[in-house]
């Protein structure tokens, strides 16, 4: 299932940012993911306000040294992983 890039991802109920040993983590039912650099930048934008396209554009700016195509692929891959975990809802 590939989400529409015009949709706005939002953390699902019961999924939120937390902190542990000075590190940001994504807390989910029975799971926690450590967030580093780009993954944190992505999650912070999963607020139901940014479309996937906007998130991609933002990160391409932040990581302007990286290949834009690669940044886009990484983001879509990461969102797909979070969707499989049921950590995201996609708002139209």
């Amino acid at each position: 299932m590939v989400p529409d890039t015009n949709s706005k991802p939002r953390l699902a109920p019961g999924c939120r940012l937390g902190e542990n040993n000075q590190q940001r983590v994504l807390l989910m039912p029975e799971r926690a993911l450590r967030l580093l650099g780009p993954s944190l930048e992505i999650i912070e934008r999963c607020d139901g306000q940014h479309t996937i396209q906007q998130i991609i554009a933002d990160l391409q700016k932040i990581y302007s040294k990286a290949e834009p195509q690669k940044v886009e692929q990484d983001i879509l891959g990461y969102l797909a992983l979070l969707q499989k975990e049921r950590a995201l809802d996609f708002e139209p």
């Binding site: 299932m1 109920p13 019961g14 939120r16 937390g18 542990n20 039912p29 926690a32 049921r86």
Partner: protein, 368 residues
């Protein structure tokens, strides 16, 4: 903290042993603690704070029935303000709609509702109460709230053929996760084992069904299946390894490395009333006892899988072999595996007609 020691990730808070249900597979110990022995709100609040300071991310509120605590809202608030992710594991009784709203308002992150079956008749038989309808009501109420919902079904011989119906309940609800957990055999489950173990044929059918359904529901509902380890080739990494990831606190404040640890003779447990979570995690003799690998016997001692399953479950080793340091006898490499095979042979030889007769269950009582 010595560098080889990892910090605990979850605190399992058994808030009370009181419970309006009487499940025949209840994992609680046979010796249940009374209300008079229970920790105060203040002590629990301190424990949440201390747990967070040693690196714990999540508090699992369980029991008995955690909702039987009249201070449950204060406890949710305390755990949440200590920075923990708060998970409520509940039968859904006693609960009404305003109380649910208040729990979410207090900061509850995850609501795990356990079912005793897909149908009223079997659910009520297993729980020894009329409880099924209430759970369906709770599922309706949950739609109105922003909280993660997991449905937990404990699976055994008398309901393993109803997995599709259970999934239908999940699909018509707002749950994003379903846990099908085959009964683990300790506590009351061990006493009722003969009537709970599924047959090999039932298990194979259920595995095929789950694999198919996991694919179908991908991205909608996360379906997890815990297989019965008596049928497995290798044991499960019980609790993620003894004293590696989890600490359990009993209603009266004893700190245990797992639910059933009290069955192991000779272990002395510290109490959070006398010691901090950090002191216990780092120094409790009971936690040290099976931490790491020094305690292992052959074949575990030299086995390649010892970092994966840590030799299995210590309590199961004790219950089935009499020696808590033995290789978990469900392991196909264990010298005592024939004991488990003999139990399975007995189950699989039973005529299927037995499934339609209600067994002489031993019900879990409700302590005062």
């Amino acid at each position: 903290m010595p560098s080889t020691l990892t910090n605990p990730l979850a605190l399992i808070a058994e808030l009370t042993h009181r419970c309006p249900l009487h499940c025949v597979y209840c994992s609680n110990p046979l010796e249940l603690q009374s209300r008079a022995e229970e920790l105060s709100t203040e002590t629990w609040s301190r424990v949440f704070q201390e747990a967070s300071e040693v690196g714990v991310l999540q508090a699992d509120f369980t029991g008995g029935e955690p909702l039987a605590r009249t201070d449950i809202l204060d406890l949710v608030r305390a755990a949440r303000s200590a920075g923990l992710y708060v998970n409520l594991i509940t039968s859904g009784l006693p609960l009404d709609e305003p109380k649910l709203a208040a729990l979410v308002e207090a900061g509850l992150d995850h609501f795990q509702l356990s079912f005793q079956g897909a149908r009223e008749e079997i659910a009520n038989e297993i729980s020894g109460t009329r409880s099924h309808e209430q759970k369906l009501r709770v599922l309706q109420w949950l739609r109105q709230h922003r909280v993660a919902v997991t449905l937990n079904f404990v699976i055994h011989r008398r309901n393993i053929d109803q997995l599709e119906e259970m999934l239908a309940i999940a699909e018509s609800s707002c749950a994003t996760r379903v846990e099908f957990a085959n009964v683990q055999y300790y506590g009351w489950a061990f006493a009722n084992r003969e009537h709970l173990l599924p047959t090999r044929e039932q298990l194979d059918q259920s595995l095929a069904l789950i694999t198919h359904e996991q694919k179908r529901l991908e991205g909608k509902i996360r379906v997890e299946y815990v297989v019965p380890d008596y049928y497995a080739k290798y044991p499960k990494p019980c609790m993620g390894g003894w004293a590696r990831k989890l600490m359990l606190i009993t209603p009266s404040g004893e700190a245990l490395p797992c639910h059933a640890a009290k069955v192991i003779p000779g272990l002395v447990f510290e109490n959070v009333k006398d010691r901090s979570v950090r002191q216990i995690w780092e120094h409790s003799v009971a936690f040290e006892k099976f931490r790491g690998e020094d305690w292992m016997q052959e074949p575990c001692k030299t086995c390649d899988r010892r970092e994966q399953d840590f030799g299995g479950c210590r309590c199961q080793a004790l219950l089935l072999t009499g020696d808590a340091a033995a290789t978990d006898p469900v392991c196909s490499l264990a010298p005592q595996r024939p004991k488990v095979d003999a139990i399975l042979a007995g189950i699989n030889a039973a005529p299927p007609a037995q499934l339609f007769v209600q067994p002489p269950w031993l019900y879990r009582p409700n302590p005062t």
